[in-house]
């Protein structure tokens, strides 16, 4: 799966998340959007829902990966901090399983 497709999946997941958020709490669909952490738009449960949506979209493409495994949690820099780091992390995971 190429990076453009991955970005599309993540932006779609952001759009789904935005559907249930207030107008002033919308998450920008941009590569440098902070997702989780100090300036992140998502709290822990918001992140869970977001990652489930992404996993489901990847399954639609026939790709099975677990995004919130021990490795993700133990990295000194969270792969969930922004859209770009998340794309790179998922890209790595996909390369490992294919």
């Amino acid at each position: 799966m190429n990076i453009t497709k991955l970005q599309e999946i993540i932006f779609n997941a952001i759009a789904m998340t935005n559907n249930i958020r207030e107008d002033d709490k919308q998450i920008p669909q941009q590569i440098d959007t902070e997702l989780y952490g100090n300036n992140g738009h998502l709290d822990s449960m918001g992140l869970v829902a977001f990652l489930i949506d992404i996993e489901e979209s990847l399954l639609d493409e026939g790709i099975q990966v677990t995004l919130s495994d021990e490795r993700a949690m133990s990295q000194s820099k969270s792969p969930f901090r922004n859209v770009e780091s998340l794309i790179n992390y998922i890209d790595e995971l996909i390369k490992e399983v294919t």
């Binding site: 449960m45 829902a49 996993e55 489901e56």
Partner: protein, 234 residues
């Protein structure tokens, strides 16, 4: 009419089989699983053979299921094993097996089903516990302990995923005629039934009634509840 999908573990016999037959009659698509072969022949029944305590097998199963359906309306974690033994004489292997199937199996099914449940209008998780928990039955320490874990899991899942619209409840059947209690002496069952407010054996229909109740869209405010049959309270 939109066809509803339900996943029932332990559906090859006993209560799981009765639940599967009930939902087929109601027009649902039933996805059943068990270690043994499926016994139900019906166009809307799909059986998978797997060991629910195996992470690899459960992951593979959900990957396959995901190719067939895009949402799950309900999951009934019915599969479970029991073992009667005095605490001091219970081998560690029995402890591990009971926890692997009753606790880890329920954990894996709940976790892997979240994505499919999240897409349903009224998603439901129903777990199975036992009256051995509130009654603290002698000889059932490990089985009851495993179901205590299931009850806690149920209540925390209910809290964490209420925001997704997913309700998670548990049913503790009083004794019913299934394979699960075939090894329990008759006197013990009679003594147990005497402790109930309604002192008689339950039937699979009593559990089906409660499952129906939890599944109804109108039950969207009922979550994190543990209901025992026969009038036994914690």
């Amino acid at each position: 009419m939109i066809i509803k999908n339900i996943l029932i573990s332990g559906s090859s016999r006993g209560l799981g089989k009765e639940l599967a037959k009930h939902f087929l009659k109601e027009g649902w698509k039933v996805y059943g699983c068990a270690r043994s072969e499926g016994q139900i022949k019906h166009d809307n029944y799909h059986h998978f053979q797997l060991d629910i305590s195996s992470q690899e097998q459960v992951t593979e199963f959900f990957f396959t299921l995901r190719k067939q359906i895009k949402h799950l309306d309900a999951v009934v974690n019915n599969a479970g094993i029991a073992s009667m033994n005095a605490f001091a004489l219970t081998p560690a292997k029995v402890f591990q097996k009971i926890f692997a199937i009753n606790v880890q199996g329920t954990f894996l099914f709940c976790q892997k089903a979240l994505g499919l449940l999240k897409k349903a209008p009224n998603p439901r998780i129903i777990n199975m516990t036992t009256v051995a928990v509130p009654l603290k039955l002698e000889g059932e320490s490990i089985y009851a302990a495993s179901k205590s874990a299931v009850e806690t899991l149920t209540q925390i899942i209910a809290k964490e995923y209420g925001g997704f619209g997913i309700t998670c409840n548990a049913i503790g059947p009083s004794p019913i005629e299934t394979n699960l209690i075939k090894g329990v002496p008759k006197e013990k069952i009679a003594k147990l039934i005497k402790q109930q407010s309604i002192p008689k054996m339950a039937t699979p229909n009593d559990i089906i009634n409660l499952v129906d109740f939890f599944i109804r869209p109108e039950s969207h405010m009922i979550t994190g509840q543990i209901i025992y049959l026969g009038g036994i309270a914690k």
